[in-house]
């Protein structure tokens, strides 16, 4: 993201409440992740310590500090989804996509070698009645079973 685009995003938020999160959100949505230098530049521009922004970015699972693949698969690991087999779903995803993520600092993150898919974990989408739930690029899939996953992934260009 260039500086002009960052300025444009900042200019969308001129009221103090929710400003920082709003800006960070827009960057995340537009870039798929928040680059280190961009975070530093933002801190300087809005006169907020980098430590504060870094704290927010590492707090919410919504933000990523690493570049992500073309499609983002978010797997819910909230308690209901966990109970309904989210671990198995994750294992299946790792298997099919050939990835092995690490749950480092409480955040799971893994991207396929061809940069097509990134798998991350979230805690509860609020769709527990359909658990286990995954989300791909904003589309929600409920009652997921390992058997259904290949078909779902195929819709995003995956093939065995």
């Amino acid at each position: 993201m260039d500086e002009k685009r960052l300025d444009e995003i900042i200019s969308r938020y001129d009221y103090p409440s929710g400003r920082i999160l709003g800006i960070l959100r827009d960057i995340q949505v537009s870039e798929g992740y928040i680059e280190k230098d961009l975070l530093r530049l933002l801190a300087e521009k809005i006169e907020v310590p980098v430590s504060r922004l870094y704290g927010l970015v590492t707090f919410y699972s919504f933000f990523s500090l690493q570049p992500v693949g073309r499609h983002i698969i978010t797997l819910c690991m909230g308690t209901p989804c966990h109970v309904k087999g989210a671990r198995t779903i994750l294992a299946t995803l790792e298997d099919l996509l050939g990835i092995k993520g690490e749950e480092e600092s409480g955040k799971y993150f893994a991207t396929t070698a061809d940069n097509q898919f990134t798998v991350v974990i979230a805690r509860c989408f609020g769709a527990c009645s359909m658990s286990p739930v995954i989300q791909i690029d904003g589309n929600l899939y409920g009652y997921v079973t390992p058997e259904k996953i290949p078909e779902i992934l195929a819709g995003y260009g995956w093939h065995p």
Binding site: V48, P49, Y54, F59, S105
Partner: protein, 258 residues
Amino acid sequence: MDTTGHTVTITINKNQYQAVEGEILLEVARREKIDIPHLCYESSLSPYGACRLCMVEVVTCGKTEMTTACTVRVHRGLEILTDTPDVIRHRKILLELYLAEAPHSDVIKAMAIRYGVTKTRFLKKIVTGDPLLGRCVLCGLCVRVCNEIMGAGAIGFVNRGPYTIVSTPFLEENPACMGCGTCAAVCPTHAIGIEDTGEKRIMRSWSGTPVEMIRCAGCGGYIGPKPVMEYARSRIDPVMAEELQELCPACRRKQVTR
């Protein structure tokens, strides 16, 4: 203490004490030598109530309610109990939790022993290469003084839940740190490591951030971090800043008495 307030009488553990209306209860207790354990209170900062250790019971109309002594402001007729079975039980559990959170902290261990707590049922944090030496209880004091008093904002909370730590952004050296050491001075568990090597001060706990030191204009000894000096200069009257000499206390004394 707010000296304009009225003096009121409050009751702590059935004894009466005088205090100034609006004063923080924990301050009154400290003054009267009534022991209330606490970790996150600092009089120069606004009430925060993070560590929950200073829990006491407030009695209103015969009913009691638990609350943190560091956030209560005293008023006429306030009645407090500091050592009820409920309060003690609460403290014991908290101390167990802190033993798990900061397994290497002698301060926590000593506090716990006073309540007969020597073991914890909770999973102890595994500490390897922790820049805060397995002593941090995440009270937030260092973060708050750095932000609110020094205005540097060099450190902050990172991550969430059981993974939360205090550190610099990206866990890298942070030029925003002035090396003032206020964080280490307020840390209740002495978790923050600072090393003075002569020309540099190394903030061990803050990703090893190096800070340049200045020498005394008189004897040439190292007297303090350069950024702190610059910060002080920028905050005072320019004329005074002009006259301000970089002297160590000994040389300053010599100069004054000359």
